[in-house]
């Protein structure tokens, strides 16, 4: 594997402190803490229902935590709505696709640039020249992003006519159109065939090299182990382990959780 040079972590771009959320009696995430260094690929793994997607929803503002802190560059952001967090460079994709099927593929990517554009309605209604020029430039940029994620054949496609794998990439292109600093990818390889998975693997590397910090939830262990600088393991909403791929592979608690080796006794 082409190991990327993992730079020494300076200030964490994201710090999570004792984060918890309860849905009624269900404690979906309990006292989870971790730091993510700028520029790395950080993965979150765990069995189904471990709280991975909930964790993503908490950090990206879709859910409001019951307790705990989320620090972006040292500043608390917990409880802020997603559109505020978007302004601070937080982007994400979704496990269950969230593509706007009432728009073309290219328009979906263009929506990602929402915050960078002039959103004035009156200027829009009367085809204000500066607004038109910006939109034309954005067309080019969105098309380039679609090429970057390998969707060059779908430039003119309607979103509702695209395959599952293509839509997964389209979500990544939309997220990249935000020019994010932190990109959360929720199971980008789920439901893809081995060839497509390899392509996504390649794509994530390219994104990380371009300077975006990537946080990944993924079930494909081969991909996670080869890509990740650090890995967080969740089980029943709790942090089970954290470390490099090598450390995680040898962690007895992780092995017990995954293989179900009876009576490991580590998790109460």
């Amino acid at each position: 594997m082409m190991a990327r040079t993992s730079t020494a972590p300076a200030t964490p771009v994201l710090s999570v402190r004792d984060l918890s959320i309860n849905f009624g009696g269900v404690r979906a995430v309990q006292n989870v803490s971790f730091d993510i260094a700028s520029g790395c690929i950080y993965s979150v793994i765990g069995p189904n229902g471990a709280g991975k997607t909930t964790l993503f929803n908490l950090i990206t503002g879709v859910y409001v935590p019951t307790a705990g802190e989320i620090l972006l560059d040292g500043q608390p952001v917990q409880g802020q709505p997603p559109h505020r967090l978007a302004r601070r460079g937080v982007a994400r994709t979704f496990q269950n696709l969230q593509v706007c099927l009432n728009m073309t593929a290219l328009e979906n990517v263009m929506v990602g640039a929402h915050l960078r554009l002039d959103r004035n309605v009156l200027k829009a209604a009367f085809r204000w020249p500066s607004l038109r020029r910006a939109d034309q430039a954005l067309h080019q940029e969105a098309a380039e992003l679609m090429r970057f994620v390998g969707l060059e054949h779908a430039l003119e496609a309607r979103a509702d006519a695209m395959s599952y794998g293509a839509l997964k990439r389209l979500e990544i292109a939309r997220a990249l159109a935000m020019k994010p600093r932190l990109l959360f990818l929720d199971e980008p390889a789920a439901g893809l065939n081995p060839r497509e998975t390899l392509e996504i693997d390649e794509l994530i590397r390219k994104v990380a090299v371009s300077g975006v910090t990537v946080v990944l939830v993924e079930h494909d262990m081969k991909m996670v182990m080869s890509l990740s600088d650090r890995i967080l393991v969740l089980d029943y909403g709790k942090k089970l382990a954290e470390g490099t791929a090598a450390e995680i592979r040898q962690d007895p608690a992780v092995i017990a959780a995954y293989l179900g080796a009876g009576a490991a006794g580590e998790t109460p």
Binding site: A86, Q98, C100, N102, T104, E107, V121, D135, A161
Partner: protein, 337 residues
């Protein structure tokens, strides 16, 4: 294999063609129509079309339903009737005051509603429309009650609009500008944000769209638009009754959006044309016209749930695709798009 980057969305070219066709139609119609009954019908269609364009931005593109738009029409109509008659305001100022009142009312009402999830707007606007209708009906000392009241003539820059031909050109110009502006809005950052929050509100929020603000903006805009058109209707007809703000009028407007085609600008026009003409055409059924009207709507919904224009366009598209495929013989396996 790298294809050249497309510079404009594919929706743009047919739209430009449609706009040109509409402009030609608008220019030719008065030459063809000599009968004042038909000219009146065309003007009424155009007025409805403009209202429906604004409503379609709200319903079809942003996915928010209003069952009280006739109430906003009523605000404009009665502002243009009451303010000049009882308080001596110039008509143009009355129109602006009505629009401002409609905008303020829409904003005050929408503020709490768009903080909630779900279709509360439909319920709230339903109530609002009914309340406004009651006010117009019962404040007889100002509004003339159920019998309605006369509306003074509209003056534009010292010129009185009185003849149908003059009205035709004013409203035709308004229609063309409205269609053009709608097409522009849809294909702009603002319009994409609206369509995105309709397509997936989570996705829209995550890319930075403040969805409550956007829903509010488009609701206030379409209410303002409706009020202005209410004023214009009142001046054109020269008389206003509470029926303009009737609940059934609201339903009729929503029906024009749905039958013509949600999220289709030219569908709105088609919906306005059909549903303005239909009651006249069905008048021969004498008493059964409401039944016939309802049956047509039900059939439309069953067989063309996306609306007339989008369904027809899709049929045409698949037909063209089939023909192209036949010509190409057995085409390659990629059958999507």
């Amino acid at each position: 294999m790298i294809r050249p980057v497309i510079l404009r969305p594919m929706a743009l070219r047919p739209a430009t063609l449609g706009l040109v066709a509409l402009a030609v139609l608008v220019l030719v119609l008065p030459l063809v129509i000599s009968n004042s009954f038909y000219l009146d019908l065309v003007i009424r269609i155009a007025i409805n079309a403009i209202i429906v364009l604004g409503l379609n931005l709200l319903i079809g593109f942003a996915g928010q339903i209003s069952f009280g738009h006739a109430g906003f029409l009523g605000i404009g109509a009665y502002a243009s009737a009451v303010l000049p008659t009882h308080f001596g305001w110039p008509p143009l100022l009355a129109l602006i005051a009505g629009a401002a009142a409609a905008a303020a009312l829409a904003a005050v009402m929408a503020w709490p509603i768009f903080r909630l999830k779900g279709h509360y707007l439909a319920m709230a606007t339903l109530g609002l429309g009914i309340i406004l209708n009651l006010i117009f009906r019962n404040e007889a000392s100002y509004t003339g009650g159920p019998d309605g009241m006369a509306v003074p003539a509209m003056e534009l820059f010292g010129l009185q609009l009185s003849r149908d031909r003059q009205w035709y050109w004013v409203i035709a110009a308004l229609l063309l500008v409205s269609v053009w502006a709608s097409l522009n809005i849809i294909d702009s950052p603002f319009g994409r944000a609206l369509r995105a929050l309709h397509g997936s509100d989570v996705a829209a929020r995550v890319v930075g769209v403040d969805i409550a603000r956007y829903k509010m903006a488009i609701f206030v805009m379409s209410a303002t638009f409706a009020s202005i058109m209410g004023s214009i209707t009142a001046h054109y007809v020269g008389f206003v009754t509470p029926n303009i703000a009737d609940f059934f009028h609201s339903v009729e407007l929503v029906t024009m959006v749905v039958v013509g085609g949600m999220a289709s600008v030219f569908g709105s026009l088609l919906g306005a044309v059909l549903l303005t003409i239909l009651p006249q055409a069905l008048a021969t059924f004498e008493g059964w016209e409401t039944v016939a009207f309802g049956a047509i709507l039900i059939l439309c919904m069953i067989f063309m749930p996306r609306g007339l224009l989008p369904t027809l366009a899709a049929r045409l598209g698949s037909l063209r695709f089939a023909v192209a495929r036949l010509r190409a013989g057995r085409s390659a396996g990629e059958s999507d798009s």
